[in-house]
Symmetry: C2
Subunit: 730 residues, 2 copies
């Protein structure tokens, strides 16, 4: 019997989608401003849509191939569930749809935000934020919708009469739909990240450094591509990334719940499984409340703006703590208070990571100012100190996730280390808690590029100085929310990956059953697979830390994070190089451009970034998908577990390093531009620009792509678990 609480999930989903539609309509009703503003927005929108179309083409081919492969596995080799191909496709489709809606909204919103800023700061903020909220709400709405629909369908096919194993089958099957979301996210993040930074670095290198024209200057042929990039990378990419974390966390926790509560009877098991969905549903409702609460006075200062955004997030977070306490009581699952504690732990970890990111990347604090100081002795010292600071900044987030992981495990397991299923369910719940108010946190993220583009629009359309001051204030706020958003994305990816890692073991047991293995010989004992505990599976595959397969898997996982990162950085370098050549060519062939007489060929730069991104994303993407498969086929289950752990441990820390170093360089440059240390045009400023350029691929390409890598490798392993169990060399 479906728990009636379950319906909170689809209800939340529909509310989110309805609100998103309202916000969208509301935004579209606003004026685009002057014809020149509308024209610029149109160029950006066309560029963004052209890119998205190209990306979806590539993704479609990949999805076709993978679906065929999964179909072969499911219907030919029979090592995989029959639902997997379909679940895979819907996961990818819904994620792509969310990206499409989010980006469409963002590209319509930028000129309208710039226009609203002509009236007042508050109007600009509200419009930009509610447009960002469309992305946030579409992501959680479509995510929950997909989960709800599949849960309803699969519950029909595996009815409760099948005993506790029925829900295990439902949830492990659903987990594989995360693979679709992961694959979509991979291309969105990697492709979008390469696009945006090739345009940005290319525009800066020739425009700012060589020609000496300011950012977002309409004379720079790459400037439209740069603005397109913000949408492509920061809106669509970030959205797909968090869509994946959101679904992954909910699905992994549901799968862990099916096992953890199997012994407590059908009702409790069902409630344990739907709990993460219910929390997500409640969080969606509270996100909407929080979004509506974001407004400020007409004459608000920068600080008041930030407080207005913070208020929305705080309201949602506080309410979710209270509401979930009531929900867990109502769900009537064992150790409800402990599990609720795990959820609160996740929320707290998210908040502290956000603060730590702010400390290390905002020019209001010492680390970033120190980096700016080093600009006085030139680019080498700026780069060195940014790298040093970024490396040091990994300590707090890692410690927080560590403390959170142990706390969540112990709270949920009743302080028993051997109670793996409950403890791991707790870790999953912490991830769900962190992501429960994603509707509003993602709204603040997507707000950033919209404000950024509004600023670009105002600059290019030569709006008066006071309007540009307002858009600058909005943009600067966006930088802070973007930095904390990145910290949040990484932290949630780490917890989600941990939950997925745990779910993998569950998937292996199901894989054994599907293969027809009935008993396992573990040392002197014989264990029925159907009733095998997680510990039994671990013992059977010798998943301990002296097994060379695990050690080697860990090495390879760690290396994968570095290699993937290197490939994406090199991709940006190459694509940016092509952009530099194109901009130089345009300047050379049409000297009128730099004098403001000739119109540059914006579309060509967009096309170059698109082509570059499309070409360059293939290799890292192929690697991310292939390595877990090959590792499984060669090293077996143990090797895969090692791979996932190594990839997670290194990838998580590396991602924090890249995001924070990049953010700190960016703001060190801004700090100097604010008039410190010689201000704009000084030698220190030139050095800081170089630091910022080095940081660009760090924070917007490789760092965010690592979030995807650590989740995708888990997802691939989960989907391939059946194959790994059946075929492996060692």
């Amino acid at each position: 019997m479906l728990s009636s609480w379950f319906w909170l999930a689809p209800a939340g989903s529909l509310l989110a989608l309805t609100m998103a539609l309202l916000f969208y309509r509301n935004m579209m009703a606003q004026s685009e401003g002057t014809p020149s503003m509308a024209a610029i927005a149109l160029s950006v929108r066309r560029g963004a849509m052209a890119y998205l179309k190209q990306q979806y083409k590539v993704v479609s081919v990949v999805f076709l191939c993978l679906t065929a492969l999964f179909a072969l596995m499911a219907y030919g080799l029979k090592v995989q569930n029959q639902w997997v191909p379909f679940a895979f496709i819907t996961g990818g489709f819904f994620s792509g749809l969310a990206g499409f809606f989010g980006m469409k909204t963002a590209t319509y919103a930028s000129s309208r935000t710039a226009n609203a800023a002509r009236i007042s700061l508050n109007q600009g903020l509200t419009l930009a934020f509610r447009s960002g909220a469309v992305m946030g709400l579409v992501v959680v709405g479509l995510g929950l919708l997909d989960i709800s629909v599949w849960f309803l369908i699969l519950n029909r096919f595996y009815p409760a009469s099948g005993g506790p194993e029925a829900l295990v089958m439902v949830t492990t099957t659903m987990l594989t739909f995360g693979m679709g979301a992961s694959t979509q996210a991979l291309f969105a993040r990697v492709g979008g990240g390469i696009f945006t930074k090739a345009a940005d670095v290319g525009a800066d290198l020739v425009g700012k450094v060589e020609a000496g024209i300011p950012e977002d200057d309409p004379r720079n042929p790459a400037t439209i591509a740069d603005n397109v990039g913000d949408n492509v990378g920061d809106v669509a990419g970030m959205g797909a990334d968090l869509y994946e974390s959101y679904c992954g966390a909910i699905l992994a926790t549901a799968a862990l719940g099916a096992t953890a509560f199997a012994a407590y009877g059908p009702e409790v098991q069902m409630n344990g499984v739907v709990a993460p969905m219910v929390i997500a549903g409640a969080g969606t409702v509270l996100s909407v409340l929080g979004i509506l609460a974001v407004k400020t006075r007409e004459d608000a200062t920068q600080r008041q703006l930030l407080r207005a955004l913070g208020r929305g997030v705080n309201i949602s977070s506080l309410l979710i703590v209270v509401i979930t306490a009531l929900l867990f009581r109502a769900l009537n699952i064992p150790n409800a208070w402990g599990i609720w504690g795990a959820l609160v732990t996740g929320l707290l970890v998210g908040i502290v990571i956000g603060r730590s990111t702010e400390y290390y990347t905002s020019q209001g604090f010492r680390p970033t100012r120190d980096i700016a100081e080093h600009a006085k002795t030139g680019p080498a010292t700026v780069v060195i100190s940014g790298i040093g600071t970024g490396l040091v900044s990994t300590a707090v987030p890692v410690l927080m996730v560590s403390i959170g992981t142990i706390a969540a495990f112990l709270l949920a397991s009743g302080f028993r280390f051997d109670n793996l299923p409950m403890g791991l369910y707790g870790i999953g719940t912490a991830a769900v808690g962190m992501l429960s108010t994603l509707g509003i946190t993602l709204a603040s993220d997507a707000y950033g590029p919209i404000a950024d583009n509004a600023g670009g629009n105002a600059q290019m359309a030569a709006l008066p100085a006071e309007v540009r001051e307002r858009t600058d204030a909005l943009d600067s706020l966006g930088n802070t929310t973007a930095a904390t958003g990145k910290g949040f994305a990484i932290g949630s990816a780490a917890l989600t990956a941990l939950a997925l890692l745990a779910a993998y073991i569950e998937e292996v047991r199901v894989g054994l059953l599907r293969l027809g293995v009935e008993v396992l010989n573990i040392e002197a004992r014989t264990v029925q697979v159907a009733s095998a505990s997680m510990n039994d599976i671990l013992s059977y595959y010798q998943i301990h830390l002296m097994n060379p397969v695990i050690l080697v898997g860990t090495f390879i996982g760690s290396m994968m994070a570095f290699l993937f990162c290197g490939l994406t950085i090199n991709a940006v370098g190459r694509a940016a190089g092509r952009m530099v050549e194109e901009v130089r060519r345009q300047f050379q062939e049409k000297p009128g451009i730099i004098e403001g007489r000739d119109e540059p060929d914006y579309a060509r730069c967009v096309a170059i970034s698109t082509k570059g991104a499309q070409r360059e994303m293939i290799l890292p993407a192929a690697l991310a998908i292939a390595v877990p498969v090959v590792t499984g086929l060669v090293l077996g289950v143990g090797g895969v577990v090692g791979l996932l752990l190594g990839g997670l441990a290194s990838g998580f820390v590396l991602a924090v390093f890249l995001a924070n170093a990049g953010g700190a360089w960016d703001n060190a440059k801004k700090y100097i531009e604010e008039g410190h240390l010689g201000g704009k045009g000084s030698e220190a400023h030139k050095a800081a620009i170089i630091g910022d350029m080095v940081g660009d691929p760090f924070k917007d390409t490789s760092g965010p792509s690592l979030n995807i890598l650590i989740k995708l490798m888990s997802m691939v392993s989960i989907v391939m678990a059946g194959v790994t169990v059946a075929y492996h060399l060692l």
Copy 2:
């Protein structure tokens, strides 16, 4: 009964020390050249010795404190072996002694090499190489001596009549003397690394970039400090690093052997234990042979020089393969051929890693040339592409170590994954194999800074152009050997750390025994600690990959690598900043310096680097020692194992990245200086210099320090195993 084969170890040791003395005397008998050459050499020597004195002071304080702590643990809390404090001191003392001799020789040899190069290239090569060989032979000689003496002493106190447990006690006790070597190496690598790069970056920033004077120009006040730094970092630091790996690998393998062969009777067990020492003894003899074979024709080309060095290493490596095959037959241990295969695997891994390092860092190949190409678009793209290439370059070394680990395990265990003791003994033997010819490989490493200093000496003493061409040829050869040497140091550190990780589990069992724990309840079974297998210990402490303590330990270990790296990079930044100020001050206060009329104050720059290094090494060093202790006290045995694995997996990959990126930038700059892409003084050259400066702390401070970190954390954990077993929070 001691195996008579054992005596090959002390014999090899004495041969090495005798040859070192001969080479030293021979070198000292040569002329120092002109009075100006002698004066410059004296300045460098004085600076180096002053630094070493300061470093040893700091180290003495640390040793006093730690010895007191270990004495308390051994005699007060009784959780530790009574021999530990003494073993700890001798390990540190012998390592320090090796550093002292090596550096003394190197600083005497530089002017003599420059003088020999006035006569011919061959004389220069032979002198520099044999002086480097003093370091190599002293390291292996003193290492083997310390091991031999302790083995003889402890065998008296734990006679064979004590059953198979006696040798376990002997070897686990000896393992702790590695902690002394590790602590010494920590300060040598971190302090030396900070010294050398503070001087180098400081000298480059003001001298090359601001004042526009060439490298090693006597007008630069930091130039003597820069030359001192080469000795302090690359000779003493590298020597201490490899001393630690060498002893660590032998001792860990011996400890693993005591367990692996315990069931085969006293004779086989003894042979299994002495096998790594015997191999090392044989390797030492063959290293001497190889060193004597290094010579070239008078009119040798650069390529012939490289071949001459390569011939020595090849002869030693080939002979060790043959000789060990005979030795293993003679030692009569089970599966001798498999273990010999593991040894050969280690040798091969070392060779391939060396080649891969060369490919990624030499200007003869594409990656470095690509980085140089990126110099055309400025410093940002040089830095980005260097980082990208460095990240990608991690793949081959990690794959090689991975393949080597699995191959060594399977060969030694007879292809049985559950035969942990034999398999892990195989991994240890692979490490010993890789390091067996350390005498000659380290000789080629230490040759580098000697040749570099000879070049500096020739430049500062204004020797004629043809002499400088010869020293440049010697120096350039040194760059190649230094790069491959770094790859070798990292690879051997990784394998050694794996062996130490395995030995840690053994140490935990001994810790349980010492604590008076007699039986362990593992699930439904009861196991006697005295006869507990490694698998039992793993099961008892739940050292599997779903234990949150292990997961969190892995996170923290991974973070430690990044944090340690960040702290050392920032330390270089700060110390270099002080150097920049000093050099600027000297140029400003005495304008005569730059015109060549006034003598700069070299000593003050040396003092600043010394003080900077001394101050800055405290925090990272304290952290490296404290974190494993705290992790053990909070998270227990499982947390420590996770910490070591995470630190190893991340630290290893990070170290490869840093070393290769740094090496590639260095040679990209050299490639441009050779006349490509505009040559010296071009914009591309300036950009490449910035890349090189960024790479300086990468390759010479943080990267090498990571080798120490991964070994030291294992050593600390091993020494503290008794405390961790007795006291832990979770």
